[in-house]
Symmetry: C2
Subunit: 380 residues, 2 copies
């Protein structure tokens, strides 16, 4: 029920109407905004960029297990939307478990192939000291109690994959999916409905790893470099559910853009960036930003930045991309091929972002907050 | 028989005598030279560096299939030794076939996982145009007819693995193995004699790939970058016989140094370097150098350079190293772990050379030729 109300509220607030009506009327510039669905397992700067920007309309958020379990991801999204006053955006909870991978299987994997730096929801302790805070461990069905307080807002009654399928049929060729977590929901949607991917406008996902190198010279950058130094082709989102990543890599997206680890090594969620964004943002958003932990590479923010301003990209390549689904030392690792080298087993060509302009991304991030503040002045 | 004569000639020409006798006598400085056995599948600058240098004594060459079949590798080594007047060095032919991998299996692998850039002895054509000359294709037992003429010098009657085992027992703890081809012979030697690795002074091998990046900006560098851009952990020597690479990675070498692709991307067998070396070398050696094809990264030469002058290294790391033996998309790819992350299944810590000073390496290469010319003035 809330989802329907939420969708209705969105249509009103963004000045949207069915496509035919818009074309007949004197279309306001807002109608040109790209429709975006965010697929992720948290609520942070990437969400704020897309939610506050004037350039896109976020028509829904779907959650999935990855960094945290799906129920926690859902609570974080709902609480985030409440905090910034965007109760109009529906949140559909997605898959709790990957298709084949599991916490216990990862434990066996580590016994055979070595310890992982980051395991997301399955993380109990770091192998080495790190500047990053240690996440608290939960079971998949443990009750969620967010330190910042639980949301009052309720999630959609619809399962994420169903919501995604319904939305792409409602807005065929119009939705940009920004996926910054594991691929479980997208893989399920594609296997539930073989038309799914072809009805999307573009999938932009943060995931995969090609040839990343540490660029910044500080403790956080060195800590995060541990994740790729000895496993340069393994990236957490894609390796959490390797089979889903491979399914998504074989689906017929009209346009597929991959934002791997590579461009993120030149970026960082610095205290300075957080301060600039907090200052530019609407007050409630600013308070939320000011409370965020600094140090992380701007993984997801590059994906959002690419949607808002493709001009941030300074180096890209068009490559066939897939993920290793063998349960070996490279389970979940990125596979890629130049034209002519690919095996031709249905893997798709993707636009792979290899480097960006970090200063321009940061400016876009601040600008999105400023746009939010301007909207907020009228609406909140 | 020739092998015995060859070994005898070596002892005389290098002024060597059995260890006890040397210790009792007024030892000349030559007795401090490191004993080296070269394991490889060709004859080029790496061989010349070690054969001409004053700092080491090459007590034998063993051959193996890799870039070419073992019979061709043997002919190349014999012909090379003849050309430079070093008929005293014995050449023992090694394994023709990898332990499990094969030409046909590689064809099936490519059908599943994509085309390879370089396949060595199994190479029939390039996928894309390249500046490198196309090698002629041969079967494993085809008669060898070198374009430059076949050698008159005969190979040893002993199989490479047996020669290696005999030598390390004869000179326990004294031999540096410089291995620049696939690991088949070393793996066989280790499985024939579990003491083998522990009796070596140090194994230095060119192989593996960690996080290589194209450094030089020219056609050859771009061509060779194709080998690692989309398979950054796969390196030809190690992937030709992945099971042998893994066996060698589990053997108890007192010291193990890995020279992967990484440092080679800043180096190149340039026409200028060849000219400098040819000028400094003894005339017969100089003529041989002048005829070499330019453009290749100095893969093997870094391994030889490390033995002659470890000071070329500008960046190194101590990592546990192994190779992927699963017949998947990363068959033969390098696996590595920082301390604390390794699975603890017998994999060994290796000293991994990640970057070198290319100018210093080049100077060492020219210097080795100069030393050869000085020796030659007296002996040839």
């Amino acid at each position: 029920m809330r989802r329907v109300l939420g969708a209705l509220a969105l249509l009103v607030s963004a000045g949207l109407a069915p496509l035919a009506a818009v074309q007949a009327a004197d279309a306001p510039p807002q109608t040109e905004r790209r429709k975006v669905i965010i697929e992720d397992e948290g609520f942070a700067l990437m969400h704020l960029m897309l939610l506050e920007s004037d350039k896109v309309d976020v028509i829904g958020i779907t959650t999935v297990s990855g960094d945290v379990w799906a129920n926690r991801a859902t609570a974080l999204a709902l609480r985030g939307l409440e905090t910034i006053g965007r109760e109009d955006v529906p949140v559909a909870e997605g898959a709790t478990f990957p298709l084949l991978n599991s916490e216990e299987k990862t434990r066996r994997w580590e016994a055979l192939y070595g310890k992982l730096v980051w395991k997301g929801a399955w993380m109990r302790q770091w192998v080495e000291p790190t500047e990053q805070s240690t996440p608290s461990y939960h079971g998949p069905f443990d009750p969620v109690n967010l330190p910042e307080g639980n949301p009052k807002l309720r999630k959609s009654d619809e399962i994420a994959a169903n919501f995604l399928i319904r939305m792409v049929h409602k807005y065929p060729g119009q939705i940009t999916l920004v996926a910054c977590g594991p691929m479980t929901n997208l893989a399920l949607a594609q296997k539930l409905d073989p038309q799914f991917a072809s009805l999307v406008k573009e999938l932009v996902y943060m995931g995969g790893s090609f040839n990343p190198h540490q660029v910044l010279d500080n403790r956080s950058a060195a800590d995060f470099a541990r994740e790729f130094e000895n496993l340069p082709r393994r990236e957490f989102n894609m390796a959490f559910d390797p089979e889903a990543s491979s399914i998504v890599s074989h689906a017929p997206w009209p346009r597929l853009t991959v934002v791997p680890v590579d461009p993120s090594t030149a970026t960082q969620r610095s205290p300075e960036l957080l301060a600039r964004m907090a200052k530019a943002a609407p007050p409630r958003v600013g308070a939320f930003i000011a409370a965020l932990e600094p140090g992380f590479p701007l993984w997801d923010e590059i994906a959002a930045g690419y949607v808002l301003d493709p001009g941030i990209v300074t180096k890209a390549d068009d490559l066939y991309v897939d993920y290793d689904t063998q349960f070996g030392p490279n389970y979940g690792a990125t596979l890629s091929w130049r034209e002519g080298y690919q095996p031709g087993l249905g893997e798709r060509k993707a636009h792979v972002v290899l480097a960006i302009d970090p200063r321009r991304l940061e400016a876009d991030m601040v600008e999105a907050m400023r746009e939010g503040a301007q909207k907020g002045a009228g609406q909140r």
